[in-house]
């Protein structure tokens, strides 16, 4: 039990993060964390050790999260394949360059709001791939294994997720070259 407690402490933040990204509701995310760690404990003897414990755990957490989503939206099927057939993000449209230091434009909590709102606009199947690959740092192969997707599917979702996020963030981070008259506050 002490050994398992160590695993819980090691991975709880990541499980909470991925659950939030899918269910987008804090209470459900808390439930997912509890259920995922309990399920993993019960199935510990099925863990083969040929994959990383973390990818195995995340797979359980993703399934638990999808189940929560289904309960919430009764009658509507929810899967990791939902809404991915979109043409958006195949070719960037908004080409404005960004401010050299976009993070200086906003305060910490405002920035977190922007990032949250922006990624919430993507289909769940894109969000999850982006978070596992780019935030958690899993490899393409590990992400594919975790989600039960093919490698080409992971690659195409990742590309579109990145491009869509980039395009949506442009609204906030665009370089704003003020005309001299506008730059001086109060000058008529």
């Amino acid at each position: 039990m002490a050994a398992y407690e160590k695993l819980v402490k090691q991975y709880d933040r990541q499980v909470f993060r991925i659950a939030n990204h899918i269910v987008q509701n804090r209470e459900d995310a808390e439930d997912v964390v509890q259920d995922a760690f309990l399920k993993a404990y019960q199935k510990l003897n099925q863990f083969q050790g040929n994959s990383k414990f973390y990818t195995w755990l995340v797979r359980i957490a993703v399934n638990e999260s999808l189940m929560r989503l289904r309960k919430r939206r009764t009658g509507k099927m929810v899967s990791i394949d939902e809404d991915v057939e979109t043409e958006e993000g195949s070719m960037p449209r908004d080409l404005a360059d960004w401010s050299p230091d976009p993070e200086a434009l906003y305060g910490q909590s405002e920035m977190a709001d922007i990032l949250r709102r922006t990624i919430q606009g993507l289909p769940p199947g894109f969000r999850v791939v982006f978070v596992l690959r780019d935030v958690d740092g899993l490899s393409t192969e590990e992400t594919a294994e975790t989600l039960g997707l093919s490698i080409p599917a992971v690659k195409s979702r990742l590309l579109r997720a990145r491009l869509q996020l980039r395009e949506r963030l442009s609204r906030y981070f665009k370089r704003r070259d003020l005309k001299p008259a506008q730059a001086q506050d109060g000058v008529k």
């Binding site: 039990m1 398992y4 407690e5 819980v8 402490k9 709880d12 933040r13 909470f16 993060r17 939030n20 990204h21 995310a29 808390e30 964390v33 509890q34 760690f37 309990l38 404990y41 019960q42 070719m91 960037p92 080409l95 404005a96 360059d97 960004w98 976009p102 993070e103 910490q108 920035m111 977190a112 990032l115 949250r116 990624i119 982006f130 780019d134 935030v135 690659k155 990742l158 590309l159 990145r162 491009l163 996020l165 980039r166 963030l169 442009s170 981070f173």
Partner: protein, 77 residues
């Protein structure tokens, strides 16, 4: 090289160490295509920003409550 061909290799371009057979062609395209140059730099920034901001913080008090609940449930099964 077209922009579409360039985009297909974006993942490899974001990984500076990746051995890409067409690296020279890709870099040549970057030099003369502002579109792809901006796409690459702002996509790189997008990833970096998401990586450096925890948008679903797990507060310490909630964390402790979850640990207790998880371990209690595990002990019962």
């Amino acid at each position: 090289m077209t922009c579409t061909e360039f985009l297909a290799q974006l993942d490899e371009m974001l990984d500076q160490d990746a051995a890409i057979p067409l690296r020279a062609d890709l870099e040549e395209h970057l030099r003369c295509c502002e579109h792809c140059e901006i796409t690459l730099s702002t996509t790189r920034k997008t990833i970096q920003i998401y990586r450096s901001h925890e948008i679903y913080e797990l507060p310490e008090d909630l964390r402790e409550r979850l640990h207790k609940a998880i371990l209690a449930k595990c002990r019962k099964c």
